[in-house]
Symmetry: D2
Subunit: 347 residues, 4 copies
């Protein structure tokens, strides 16, 4: 029988933070006990996010004002880099679900190469579990600190891991062309996130140096047992939510597109949130908006032996806060889909 747990959300004034709040408000067994923010500390939550004003929620406080007594789980939705030092201070009996990038890379060298500084909590980095739910369920159940994957790696790895694990594709020839909505950039003030810089246009960013590339490579490398480099090219789209990942792969000898599609179907047939689309139906971000679902199309290219994989997720749900809650459900023995039952919102 389920008992209620008490949660705090660190960094509740950003988009992933408020998405955690939105989803947890519909979870039968989670009480939100504290919400923290930096510059917004001291404010009522519904002044910062009026759309949640129909609920009664704790006001925003500073991280250090949290009373940890009785708390079961902490969600960290803090900026990258800031998280390491904060998590170090959380009492050990409390489970931690981190939505930042701080504990995703398990190699300290890789971390410092891509993030520009030595990791501040290397011992925690060692124990952190990579929270790609469908691939690390046992580790998540037993873990104390779960590092939720980046939004792009979530979509790309759900596409690629089954193929890599079954040795169906050439892992040295993976091209990942990704398109994301603007919430992926967070709520912080950047010129590139202004409405008029984004609306009525598309542009690439971080080409050949985006930090989600080593994260994708880490997991493929682990699966394969040898170092792999992938192409990863993200683009910013004029939409709030949603992420579409179009991946171009080359089949290994003797492997057909039908083999790949069947592998997909088999691998995910018991997964509630993941669906392989019928031939002729193409994945769209509109199919999953506001939900934890993942849809994938598998298509034969006209170039011989090439296959196109197209996956859509909501970057704020399966790409961050939804997957975090999915992991929490595992960690506390709840039904894995609890709080994540909503249908996609279309239009």
């Amino acid at each position: 029988m389920n008992k209620q747990i008490n949660a705090v959300i660190l960094g509740a004034s950003g988009y992933t933070g408020v998405e955690l709040v939105r989803l947890l408000l519909r979870h039968d067994f989670v009480a939100i006990r504290a919400l923290t923010a930096n510059s917004h500390a001291g404010e009522l939550y519904d002044r910062v996010f009026p759309h949640l004003g129909f609920n009664s929620l704790p006001g925003l406080i500073k991280n250090e004002e949290i009373d940890w007594d009785g708390i079961d789980v902490a969600f960290c939705a803090l900026p990258h880099g800031a998280t390491q030092n904060v998590i170090k201070e959380i009492p050990e009996k409390i489970k931690v679900i981190d939505l930042s990038a701080d504990f995703r890379l398990d190699s300290p060298e890789l971390y410092s190469e891509w993030y520009g500084h030595v990791h501040f909590a290397p011992e925690l980095q060692k124990e952190a579990v990579y929270g790609l739910t469908e691939f690390y369920r046992n580790e998540i159940i037993e873990g104390r600190l779960v590092a939720c994957p980046g939004c792009y790696p979530t979509a790309a790895l759900i596409q690629l891991l089954p193929l890599v694990q079954e040795n169906q594709i050439d892992a040295d020839d993976i091209i990942i062309d990704a398109k994301s909505g603007v919430t992926g950039a967070g709520r912080s003030l950047k010129e590139t996130s202004l409405f008029s810089e984004v609306a009525e246009g598309i542009h690439p960013y971080g080409v050949a140096h985006h930090r989600h590339a080593p994260e994708i490579e880490q997991e493929i490398t682990k699966s394969l047992g040898r170092q792999v480099i992938v192409n990863f090219t993200p683009h910013l789209m004029p939409m709030n939510r949603g992420e579409l990942v179009t991946t171009y792969v080359r089949c290994n000898k003797g492997i057909s597109v039908d083999d790949i599609r069947q592998n997909f179907i088999d691998r995910y047939k018991r997964e509630h949130f993941i669906r392989t689309l019928d031939e002729g139906v193409l994945a769209s971000t509109r199919h999953v908006r506001g939900s934890n679902f993942v849809v994938t199309s598998v298509i034969a290219d006209r170039i011989k032996d090439r296959v196109i994989l197209i996956t859509a997720i909501d970057n704020l749900v399966k790409g961050s806060s939804g997957q975090a809650i999915q992991n929490m459900n595992l960690m506390f023995g709840f039904d894995e889909i609890m709080g994540l039952e909503q249908e996609p919102l279309f239009p």
Copy 2:
């Protein structure tokens, strides 16, 4: 104790139809037994709306193929005009919740003046209850045929009826400037609904002859006992959902903006879905997206004795399918908010 009821949705291939499906899928006591469409009849529902493909839903059939046996309630989300003849044929023991405009006007003369033809089911028109939930609860509970209000009248009347009923404003000087997202125009093929005709711009439409004007006037007239004409000026916005209604009223002698705000607060304090915003917080469609909520700001104008009322709803939820379900809950003795618990989706 609740027992499950069986529902059919006529016109399930449009936006209000699919919104009914989205919401009813999360209702504990409603089973969707049939879905109808015209040109899409014969198709799987998830081919027409792939975002609901994670569910098992009946395929689309023609209206006349419905097996009415065991059905408790029919939602009609058919085009205006088409509805009257269809509803006439529904077995009498089945409750009918109509989302079209066909039964909103109770005067046959007014109907034919604004819709250009004599009503095809005048006897049903007489028995139809106007489904503005917060104002017709008793009638809805006892009614068989409920005519859900138009999206604009829903927002405008929630603003205006308390003021008119308390005689706080000059009913002959009401100016309603309304802004709606494009789903209000439905999924039918019209040049004016094409993306490139709507994006990056705003335009008025139906100025001084929109059919929601007589509907608003009917209810104000009923409250006041004398004929009232209002200004109603709708504008089309480059967004999917949401409706903002900015209404300009003149206070009657001795009435202040505080009196009006207090009237609002008092009138709706027990209403789950309706909230009067604090001074300084301005209503936005983003506060209610995807939800059945209604938010209103009451602001003193700089012109003496003038007050500005600003109300936001989601046109597809409180403005149509959500209110329809709210009414269904009343008609079948369910908790009024069942199936409508979702938080707004922001961003």
Copy 3:
């Protein structure tokens, strides 16, 4: 015969600044000699605005680095408040066209009431000409310092002044419901200008205390010879450019909607940029995007004696930089439409 003039643009890193550059690049007789910015000083212009990278333009410098020698005209596109002290220092022989709000209000008291501080250049304030081109042509031709109107006042006054001047409407019963694209808020970093705060929604702002209200009132008051207060309610729209102003007026005794439309047509029939639409055609921001044009619909309300005026402009063109150039053309004896010949961009 025209001779070339030399222009500088102060504040060229904002949206009105870059719009001046875009338009002046197509002006046959203006050479852009210097571009200034604050935090972007020292950068190449096409790094800040890559869309103009096909041109050869001066790099961004600080205001104080300008060599005023040989300069004929300075456009000031600086933030409000900053402008006064800067303009004081410009050599007197140079004509100044200001796009900020600093010199629009001619009363020092009104200025300090609405802007919160005593004006820093009261003597310049006295000599400044209000740059609403179609109404102040002679003054502009002879002026040295022209204060270009705000975007909203431009649209609202073009609507209202002919009616007020002919005493056709009740000036104490003017309701201006305005809708603007996001560029109106400039390129500075504000949470409310972030894409995800604006897309898929509409919200009012500055209700009953927006600084464009006293500007509109000043001009109506001047025309009428007595103090007038108007309602002015702006809304922010999910679009880059464009402004739609829907104004509700009450006819004076004996005045019909046809009288008002005819007044409009007569008043503007020789104006290149202003067009009164035929009955049945409704003004849309898409009709004027990217251009200096103004379109207006005049519609009879269903409420007796009420008339609805709907005007669309591009806030960055006729609402600021285009009108500034129109004024420059007058000041230097060029054809008034020079540099402003572009058709609207649709879609």
Copy 4:
């Protein structure tokens, strides 16, 4: 010395048609003599496109009503398939610039394979010149019938042809991930072009069977002298205009990314409309909106020997109507950039 020419536009009620009108109105030496449409025939042009209402333009007539006397050039912006029979009937002395797909493929077999019917004007197909201006200038100058390339092939070929011609890349390993605004789908009524089907989302379409693939392949094949198949995967974006083409290529042995960038720079250094961006600047559709410009970034991938090419165009200008006018300028001896001088519109 230039003399004025007389033009007609067949199919002037669509988006490419009206874009021709917008641009030609600013061309000093072209008079628009007739505009045709099908269902809109008989209407005033400014009723169909009110944004051009400030001009005096001929009303819409049927194709067969054109008086060909004195006409110099016909632009055909008709739907695919319809064009062949129409062009056959145009008097031979009149030059024809076709914006449809009807004459782009020079092989009758390829045409019938991809378009599903035998070509109706095979003799014209033989004489048609492929209007990719920068590559077929001489042929265009001397041609009578110019078939303007598709929007995607324009961008993709400008990227790829210099590389293929210099044998810098493996032509059997070209992956073209393309993203287009909605105007690419035209103004015809399709559910997939409705605002609410497109806004707030992205989706692929025509994957592995889009008709622009054989067009790209034809030109690469011609350059290379052997049959090439490319990957071409288009996506629909929630924006009006603009096209971004991200292409993934593999360098031939000994070729570096710098070789490729230098090839680009050299190949296009005398081309007014084509610009290779500096390292570190990434192509965006916002850089070219409303203009005939083309911008390209050349970036080294992290995968060894792989290069990423990113090109942005405005699909309605360089991708169709602008390039058509560029070709017309060549055909009639005008300056190639005449009528195409406008700067991009940003924001």
